[in-house]
């Protein structure tokens, strides 16, 4: 056994982009790999759940968990990893705020399963087969994890020490987080997001081009206009969420001439990212007339998907109202 600090990675409800982000560290990854022992990383390293179960509590220095919590298996795994780790990090927007999978909280489980297994045009499922929690044939049984009604953030399931924000976290942010952990000194208080605590405008190259008063009579979507590469995107009528979004990404999207969509989430002082983002955008609408305001705001299709794109489960709303939001039932089947 090496005496290098042990590190684990785990993947919950997410797209896999966060795993890519680690690979994106490029040659930096080699330094990290040299400095630590990766004891668990299902996507890249061979290892079994039983290996973790066999470890002492706190044996792992740090576990990076990406993805939101959607299934019973994910919940079990994060509890296990929590127990075995000194430091647990929420890695990426989904673990941090619920992320894109968290938008499922607009619906209930049945609606989601129905869509996925029955009603999309590409689905052919005449027998209406649905996944089962357990299936037995010839005395052999297999099981599948249960599927919760509600998507949760990592810190709604277990105690989280630090958060590495972003969809996906950018190399500078990951590098900073890993560096801080390995050096072990000057660690911020638990619960801290490992990124600057101001909004993105602070580091945006276009900041000084924003007029003191922006008045929008028509919102534009990026594919509808030729975007000026120097001028503040809000001033061009694009929904840029930089004012509400934590800095630290190096304004990568804006550098690529695309507005900020808010993946770093809010600053520590904001309790509902979407509410603040919506307020910032709505306050730019140039009208006092209710009907006209409605018309202008209709230029933002899918407001939940725009303002709560990464943060619906972490928001004050959390999800669309329902009676038993945390029920785990066997998905319906024949």
């Amino acid at each position: 056994m090496s005496d290098k600090p042990k590190v684990a990675f785990y993947w919950c409800a997410s797209c896999g982009g966060c795993e890519e982000a680690i690979v994106d560290l490029a040659e930096q990854l080699l330094d990290v790999a040299a400095a630590v022992e990766i004891v668990f990383w299902p996507v890249a390293v061979d290892g079994k759940r039983s290996d973790i179960e066999a470890m002492e509590d706190g044996e792992i220095l740090a576990t990076f968990i990406n993805g939101a919590i959607r299934t019973t298996e994910q919940e079990e795994m994060v509890h296990l990893l929590r127990q075995k780790s000194q430091v647990l990090l929420a890695f990426g927007s989904c673990a941090h705020l619920g992320g894109i999978p968290g938008l499922a909280n607009q619906f209930d489980r049945e609606t989601i399963l129905e869509t996925v297994f029955d009603s999309t045009p590409s689905t052919v499922n005449p027998e209406k087969v649905r996944p089962q929690l357990e299936f037995t044939e010839n005395g052999h049984s297999v099981d599948l994890p249960g599927f919760y009604e509600t998507v949760r953030t990592l810190d709604q399931v277990t105690e989280v020490d630090y958060i590495v924000p972003g969809c996906a976290p950018t190399p500078n942010i990951i590098g900073g987080a890993v560096g801080a952990l390995l050096s072990g000194d000057d660690l911020p208080p638990a619960g801290t997001v490992l990124a600057p605590d101001t909004a993105l405008c602070d580091e945006c190259g276009r900041k000084e081009t924003k007029p003191e008063v922006v008045a929008i009579s028509e919102w534009k979507r990026p594919h509808e206009v030729l975007i000026d590469e120097d001028l503040c995107l809000l001033a061009q009528g694009l929904v840029c969420l930089g004012p509400a979004t934590r800095a630290g990404c190096g304004s990568l999207c804006i550098g690529a001439n695309m507005p900020c969509s808010g993946c770093f989430g809010p600053t520590s002082r904001v309790r509902d990212y979407g509410g603040k983002a919506l307020g910032a955008i709505a306050s730019l609408v140039d009208s006092d007339d209710e009907a006209e305001i409605d018309k202008i705001l209709a230029g933002i299709p899918d407001p939940v998907g725009t303002f709560y794109r990464y943060s619906l489960p972490a928001s004050r709303l959390r999800r669309a109202p329902m009676e038993r939001p945390l029920e785990v039932a066997a998905p319906k089947g024949e």
């Binding site: 909004a199 993105l200 000084e208 007029p211 600053t267 002082r269 983002a277 306050s283």
Partner: protein, 666 residues
């Protein structure tokens, strides 16, 4: 702040909280179980002591708090009693006396918000408990603050130049304060200038009013702006700025000496336009002066009647006669000016009820029917008939009926009593009788003569032979046979029979209503109106000339119908309130300002354009708030997308703790 450490003990350090539940006599204790509320409060986290007491606002009540602070080392105080509007300051002062920062205090309104609006004792007590819990949770996060001191601009704006505005303006000016008196009509004087005599003493209105009007004009401390209206006001108590619109008079006010020669030589030999001041009972020329004693003594031109305005081809005899004075200027346009003042007195007066709204009385349809205000002009020596009572057909009336309560005390028009109509009707009865010796019938519902010398005056008029009939006139209709007379039909409730009395003249005692644009004025000055549309005083008994906007005071009939003595008394009171404010030299403002936490601000500028008071600037990549201009509205605090603007007394923790507290049992 997570839920876990919210419930753990006292949160923000270990504050020692004292909770005081007031009975308010029985105002609270009749509907809320104050002992139970005290017991519940006692067990809340951080609460060291909880008491209930009959009157917390009384001296002994305040002493209890002071003693507890000293003896038990309390460092947060919650008082559950009435509205903070009433006693927040009382308790803050008591707490400061006790040696604590006065902002370590939260007041809970369990009177207006609970006991007065509920009947069920159990439910009302539960609500009081929720509200107290919210305050206890909140007060833990209070920080020591200091009231802001702002100097008071000693200048005063008086809006409306009737007797109320005139009296306020003179009182203030005599005390050495600069006054801007804004009047929308061409002359100051208001309704009082239209009257002949005043009740009950029958002294001549002009004799007592016109000297005051000329004093206003001559006073070095008063700047009169006629044909002007306040269109916008911003700022706050002690530091207001008003934008004033000046309508064109087409006369250079400083050049006109009031010789009135231009009126004589106007190409119109006779007036063609109904004279507004005489309520259309006479005609005036397009160049005119509203009435002989007008102040300023300056003519004006009505562009709708003037040939030069209509065709551009007038001989302009007025300009000729004005000669080198050259006071006529056809090119004048609307202008705007701004004044800075520290306080405002609103004395915009009233509107007489439009008698056409009650067609059964025939006003505007039957020639013999007049409104009281028209008769005021008829009996006035400088009125359209030089004081002769002559009917529209040229005859003198021999029988006159006066109908009280037109547009007052009537659920179809106005429910309120206009207070002055009984008395002015008696006055008109006396004057008409004196001038014509006509038989006079007064139809009244109740004779309201509550005032100094009022009852005596009524008895005198009765003795003069005026017939008093108690009963509401149902209808006024032409007498059969084309006599030109009309018949008043009413039930005489003394005799218990219907009477039909033919008369030559009917006088409708029209009531007092708010000005047609009272709602605009209300909005401009950010004050409130009661249901009838009259402006609301801060407290009906204890702050009768103040409003809920600090530094804005009320005088006269804009607040409620009142007679001249009451109006003048109120105008004096309003002036005294303004003087008290001015002489204090400064005012302490609630330290509820917003501030930008500079190192947190990203400079996104979202707040800059949103501030209704232009208090936010942007400099070197950061926003900053001018504390003097900030009114604490909270717009920027709510809007700041990165949560970098905070507001004293309304910190996020304080608000969220309050919500958690109030929702604890949900």
């Amino acid at each position: 702040m997570t839920e876990a450490n919210l419930s753990a003990g006292n949160g923000n350090g270990s504050p020692r909280i004292g909770v005081y539940v007031c009975h308010c006599g029985t105002n609270i204790s009749a509907t809320i179980d104050v002992v139970a509320a005290r017991d519940v409060a006692e067990n809340l986290p951080g609460v060291v002591l909880s008491r209930e007491y009959k009157y917390m606002c009384s001296d002994p009540g305040q002493e209890i708090i002071k003693d507890d602070i000293r003896e038990l080392g309390l460092d947060r105080i919650v008082v559950a009693s009435c509205s903070p509007c009433l006693h927040e300051e009382t308790f803050r002062n008591a707490i400061a006396d006790g040696g604590l920062n006065p902002y370590f205090f939260q007041m809970v309104n369990i009177r207006e918000h609970a006991s007065w609006v509920h009947k069920d004792i159990k439910a009302a007590t539960a609500k009081a408990n929720d509200l107290i819990r919210a305050a206890v949770r909140r007060v833990r996060f209070h920080r020591p603050l200091e009231a802001r001191r702002v100097p008071i601009d000693p200048r005063v704006l008086v809006v409306g130049g009737g007797i109320a505005g005139i009296h306020s303006a003179l009182t203030l000016a005599d005390a050495g304060k600069k006054v801007y008196l804004v009047e929308r009509e061409p002359s100051i004087g208001g309704h009082m200038a239209m009257f002949d005599k005043t009740f009950p003493t029958l002294d001549c209105a002009a004799c007592i009013l016109t000297p005051k009007m000329t004093q206003v004009r001559a006073h070095p401390n008063i700047e009169v702006m006629t044909m002007s209206e306040v269109v916008e006001i911003d700022g706050f108590v002690g530091n207001y700025r008003a934008k004033i619109k000046h309508k064109p008079r087409y006369i250079l006010e400083d050049a006109c000496v009031g010789c009135l020669e231009c009126i004589d030589v106007c190409v119109f030999r006779n007036g063609k336009t109904p004279d507004e001041f005489n309520l259309g009972l006479s005609k005036r020329k397009p160049i005119y002066i509203p009435f002989p004693q007008a102040v300023p003594q300056v003519v004006l031109i009505d562009p709708e009647g003037c040939i030069e305005f209509r065709t551009g081809r007038c001989k302009k005899t007025c300009v000729e006669v004005c000669a080198e004075r050259n006071a006529i200027d056809f090119t004048q346009e609307e202008t705007f000016s701004e004044v800075e003042i520290g306080s405002v007195i609103i004395s915009t007066g009233f509107k007489a009820f439009d008698a056409r709204r009650l067609p059964q009385y025939g006003y505007g349809r039957l020639d013999p029917v007049y409104t009281a205000l028209e008769v005021e002009r008829l009996v006035n020596a400088s009125g359209p008939t030089e004081g002769e009572i002559v009917l529209r057909d040229g005859s003198k009336p021999k029988k006159v009926g006066i109908i009280h309560c037109i547009g007052s005390r009537d659920k179809n028009t106005n429910v309120h009593c206009s207070r002055v109509c009984c008395m002015y009707s008696l006055k008109l009865a006396h004057l008409v009788k004196e001038k014509t010796d006509a038989e006079i019938y007064e139809f009244f519902i109740d004779m309201r003569t509550g005032g100094k010398g009022f009852e005596e005056f009524m008895l005198r008029v009765k003795e003069e032979g005026v017939t008093m009939i108690r009963g509401k006139v149902a209808e006024v209709y032409p007498e059969a046979g084309n006599t030109g007379r009309v018949v008043l039909q009413a039930e005489d409730t003394f005799l218990g029979m219907v009477r039909k009395i033919p008369v030559d003249m009917v006088i409708l005692a029209t009531g007092i209503e708010p000005q047609a644009d009272a709602e605009d004025v209300r909005r401009t000055f950010n004050i409130s109106c009661s249901t009838g549309g009259f402006f609301t005083e801060r407290h009906p008994k204890l702050a009768p000339v103040s409003t809920f906007t600090d530094g804005v005071f009320l005088a006269g009939a804009c607040q409620a119908p009142k007679d001249i003595p009451d109006t003048v008394a109120q105008a004096g009171a309003a002036a005294a309130e303004a003087l008290a404010l001015i002489d204090a030299g400064h005012i302490e403002l609630e330290p509820n300002t917003a501030f930008v936490v500079e190192e947190e601000c990203s400079g996104c500028k979202t707040c800059v354009g949103l501030c209704p008071f232009s208090a936010i600037g942007y400099d070197e990549g950061k926003a900053s708030i001018n504390e003097v201009l900030c009114k604490g509205c909270g717009t920027c605090v709510a809007a700041c997308p990165s949560g970098s603007i905070r507001q004293n007394l309304f910190e996020d923790e304080e608000i969220f703790e309050e919500i958690v507290g109030v929702m604890a049992n949900v």
